[in-house]
């Protein structure tokens, strides 16, 4: 079977770059299968996570990689920018591997259930990278990949269900479902609970500054646990969240779901590209948006871009360490939220009712139309950075994007311009209809945008520091 490297070389032979390949990939945004687009309606579902509580069903859209064996910790630590000193059974952390050049490969959650026993959950590029190194480095580990629904023949036959209970009433709902006060568990620590007679692994989580739980257990028990939570949550305004609202929630919490895996260039990464298959995520991924550079490296992100600068631990050896030490001395871009100008947004939307000159269709609530959105952000007509996730927050009543800007333009209150849509009528992605680019003014705001999140996450939140 052909490899990613073969695909890239064939592309180069046609006089095209990796950027051309990915920007014209025949893939739309990641899907949220297994849950309906809306249980009730996405407006009320969105408001419920800020005003009452919600149940997110994360059982289907992420891949799980089980890593077990004497070398498991050694392997993972050698790939992670963050320290493993504070990893112990019953804890979780963000796991952020980088390329040799210090660019982000992926960003997933790691659970440590027993000594040298882990499961990593998220988009697959980080998991592929681990699998490759486990094999190439002949590590004494056993790996088992449980693919996301969209990438398997038996879409819903996952090993585990994964729910989150979030929102200001999340703990009241949990208390009712448990029949007792939820145990005091530190953020990103795990407890074992019993719901509906089933043993449930519960990760203490949180959203919008409110404590919550992520609940995991065998797939076959998922319905019973979910039904018990839905019943318990009835009096607290719990809503099930469908695929439409779910994909927009990160706009408020400020996490970037979609860094392009930094695997497409560099000699040191070549063996990995020769290992990745032609039908891998990396070979099929799509980039969308107004940001166009010939160099694929311009799409790579550093840990600082993602807001993870403080995670980096130079006390241990890991891939990318030297590069990051060099980068540490330079200037860093900053993750921010852009609040888009209402009139500019309405011009795009109103253009759908015009004969010609229509802007790129603006979907509610998530306006993302590729696996890796990259839009251009300008200040005084010059490049100021890129914008990633984009969409509408029914809580804030605003169109928001998560952007990465040069420090000089990243001060809250700075006015910038966000460029919506692709050049020359658009690329060949299936989700792109003919359209024209339109500029929208935007104001730089902190990330996360939501006030409650900004206040609560500064000290203890995983989006900033605590799990570094």
């Amino acid at each position: 079977m052909k490899t990613l490297e073969d695909v890239l070389q064939a592309t180069a032979a046609k006089g095209q770059s990796a950027v051309d390949l990915l920007r014209n990939a025949q893939a739309g945004p990641n899907v949220y299968p297994g849950v309906p687009p809306e249980y009730t309606n996405w407006r009320d579902e969105t408001q419920a996570w800020q005003k009452a509580c919600v149940l997110f069903n994360l059982s289907f859209h992420m891949a799980d990689l089980y890593v077990e064996g004497p070398d498991a910790t050694k392997l993972l630590a050698s790939l992670a920018i963050n320290t493993f000193k504070n990893v112990s059974p019953g804890r979780a952390k963000q796991f952020v591997p980088c390329s040799h050049d210090g660019h982000v490969i992926g960003d997933v959650i790691l659970f440590n259930s027993a000594p040298d026993k882990y499961v990593l959950v998220g988009r697959i590029p980080a998991l592929n990278w681990i699998t490759y190194h486990a094999q190439a480095g002949k590590h004494d580990v056993k790996l088992e990949l449980d693919e996301r629904s969209a990438a398997r023949k038996d879409p819903f036959n996952r090993k585990q269900y994964r729910f989150q209970i979030q929102g200001p009433n999340a703990m009241k709902t949990m208390e009712k479902a448990l029949g007792a006060k939820p145990p005091e568990v530190k953020f990103f620590h795990v407890a074992t609970l019993t719901i509906a007679g089933k043993k449930v692994t519960a990760l203490r989580h949180g959203m919008a500054g409110q404590p919550g739980f992520e609940l995991v257990g065998p797939m076959a028990e998922g319905d019973a646990v979910r039904d018990a939570i839905v019943r318990a949550g009835e009096e607290f305004g719990l809503r099930l969240v469908g695929g439409r609202a779910y994909s927009a929630n990160t706009l408020e919490s400020g996490w970037i779901p979609s860094p392009l895996p930094a695997v497409y260039s560099g000699d040191k990464m070549k063996p990995y590209r020769q290992w990745l298959k032609e039908d891998s995520y990396e070979a099929r991924a799509s980039i969308g948006g107004s940001f166009v550079s010939k160099k694929i490296e311009d799409y790579y992100l550093t840990p600082w871009d993602m807001g993870y600068g403080s995670f980096i631990d130079f006390e241990h050896e890991f891939i990318g360490r030297e590069a990051l030490q060099r980068l540490a001395k330079g200037a860093h871009r900053k993750k921010v939220t852009l609040a888009l100008d209402n009139d500019g947004v309405l011009k795009v939307i109103a253009s759908q009712l015009q004969k010609s000159g229509r802007g790129k269709f603006w979907e509610f609530p998530s306006a993302v139309y590729s696996m890796h959105p990259y839009d251009k952000v300008l200040a005084d007509g010059k490049a100021a950075g890129i914008s990633t996730w984009v969409g509408y927050s029914a809580n804030e009543g605003r169109m928001l994007t998560i952007a990465i800007l040069d420090a000089e333009h990243a001060e809250p209150g700075t006015e910038v311009t966000f460029v919506w849509g692709e050049e020359n009528g658009g690329t060949k992605k299936p989700t792109v209809e003919p359209h024209r680019q339109m500029e929208i003014r935007a104001v730089v705001c902190p990330a996360p945008y939501v006030e409650a999140v900004r206040k609560t996450y500064t000290d203890r939140g995983w989006r900033t520091q605590a799990t570094a």
């Binding site: 009730t40 309606n41 408001q47 036959n157 009712l353 229509r358 009543g397 169109m399 299936p430």
Partner: protein, 466 residues
């Protein structure tokens, strides 16, 4: 708590309109088919410019009737003439209640001698099943229900796949599949052909004046037949249409899919209500929109209003005949397309970026939020009609809805659609708290023709969208 049938559900609810307007069933789902194959804008464009493959395998009920009395049975339910309805013909069947109001409609296929299948929404299918099983006819029935809205990983197994190949290039695709010319049958005549080595049955159909085919066969063969159609269609720009775009094609073609079945009242209909389960479409479905009457009968519509007047033939006895004979020759409300004012539509979206309750969210391309849409249409402050199905056409660059207006409301007239529900909205799950807004609209022909845009030049439409 648990009711056995619709009659008991209605008795317990007390107020039928309030029950249906506050139904908790959620959106009317077009199941299983992916929401978009490419994107709904390009998919809509394809049915007007190139060719499309509609997958109708999942959202409709198939109600089979077989036996010596089959023709006599459908003659008893149908207002159409069955004087000439041989095997390999199809016709639209729109049964009415005893009072002459629409129960539902769909397509009736004459499959073989004494064997027919009705394909459509649940209400007409249930009406057929009820009369076939209780009316003393020598027929057997078989029902193949629509696919579930949320499959949650369960295997789907319909009797048939059902595809349509439509659009200006449809016939080229069909001839390529056939490896040569295909005799062009008359509209709604049936035949067979081979696709991917499989025998498929065909119904001559069409869209926007271009001939097309509906094709069907055993469900297990669906993927090979689909793959062959997609491969043959590639050079002709054929696109597979997802569920988001699919439901909106009627906004351009002018068929109203969702009149409320006229089953909730009348002593003569009681037996049927006692037969309909408490889980039926009729007992669980929803009414949504600004038209709020305390009388459920105000939601009923006649075949004349749905545009089926020309079908009605009094050459035979059928349920509803006497009532329709009384209505015949009287002035009727008539079916029209309403082309929405762009500025007013933008106001709806603007409200989402402003303080306070927004207007009812206007989803694209399908904007219905209920099983049966009933919005008030007014002119000079007086109600002159009902808006019954709303969506956006990327081809026409306009919000287009289908509705019925009083006989004296002329083409080209400006009316107002009241968008959203009163008092912040009903308790339907698809309804967030919102305000109502009046949206100007131009009364246009159904189906909506491009010429309408050039004919009605005066006024805001040409200006606003210029």
């Amino acid at each position: 708590m648990s009711h056995r049938n619709l009659e008991e559900v209605l008795k317990a609810a007390g107020n039928t309109v309030a029950m249906l307007r506050n139904s908790q069933i959620g959106a009317y789902v077009y199941p299983v088919v992916p929401s978009e194959f490419s994107n709904w804008r390009d998919e809509q464009t394809a049915w007007q410019k190139t060719a499309v493959l509609f997958d109708q395998s999942h959202h409709m009920v198939e109600q089979y009737v077989q036996g010596p009395d089959t023709l006599r049975f459908f003659t008893h339910l149908g207002m159409n003439s069955f004087a000439s309805f041989p095997v390999d013909r199809a016709k639209q069947l729109a049964p009415t209640s005893y009072d002459g109001y629409i129960i539902g409609d769909g397509i009736l296929f004459h499959l073989e001698k004494d064997h027919m299948v009705f394909v459509g929404r649940a209400p007409a299918a249930s009406w057929i099943e009820f009369h076939a099983t209780t009316g003393g006819f020598n027929v057997k029935t078989k029902k193949d229900d629509r696919s579930p809205g949320n499959t949650r990983g369960l295997a789907i197994n319909r009797t048939n796949y059902r595809f349509q190949i439509q659009g200006p290039n449809a016939w080229k695709v069909i001839e390529k599949l056939n490896g040569g010319p295909v005799p062009e049958l008359k509209f709604f005549h049936m035949a067979t052909m081979k696709i991917a080595g499989r025998t498929v049955r065909t119904l001559r159909h069409g869209m926007a004046g271009a001939p097309g085919l509906e094709v069907w066969g055993p469900y297990a063969e669906r993927e090979e037949v689909r793959a062959a159609i997609v491969a043959a269609g590639r050079e002709f720009g054929l696109k597979e249409v997802g569920s988001r775009a699919y439901a909106t094609n009627t906004c351009e073609s002018g068929w109203i899919p969702s009149p409320l079945p006229a089953v909730y009242t009348g002593e003569k209909m009681r037996k049927y209500r006692e037969w309909l389960p408490a889980t039926s479409y009729e007992a669980t479905g929803s009414i949504g929109g600004s038209f709020a009457s305390s009388n459920i009968e105000d939601y009923y519509v006649t075949p004349y209003e749905m545009g089926y007047g020309p079908f009605i033939k009094f050459d035979h006895d059928f349920i509803g005949k006497e009532a329709l004979q009384k209505l015949a020759g009287k002035p009727h409300r008539r079916k029209v397309t309403l082309a929405w004012n762009a500025d007013d539509v933008v106001k709806v979206w603007r409200s989402m970026l402003e303080q306070g309750d927004p207007y009812k969210f206007l989803d694209l391309p399908l904007s219905n939020y209920t099983s049966a849409t009933y919005d008030k249409v007014t002119k000079n402050g007086k109600q002159v009609g009902l808006n019954m199905f709303s969506g956006y056409s990327y081809n026409e660059r306009s919000m287009l809805s289908l509705g019925i207006v009083d006989p004296d409301v002329e083409l080209g007239a400006e009316v107002k659609i009241v968008w959203g529900e009163e008092g912040g909205g009903t308790k339907k799950t698809t309804v967030e708290r919102h305000r109502q807004i009046e949206i100007r609209a131009i009364v246009s022909p159904a189906p909506y023709a491009r010429q309408a845009q050039t004919t009605y030049h005066e006024g805001w439409r040409s200006k606003a969208t210029a």
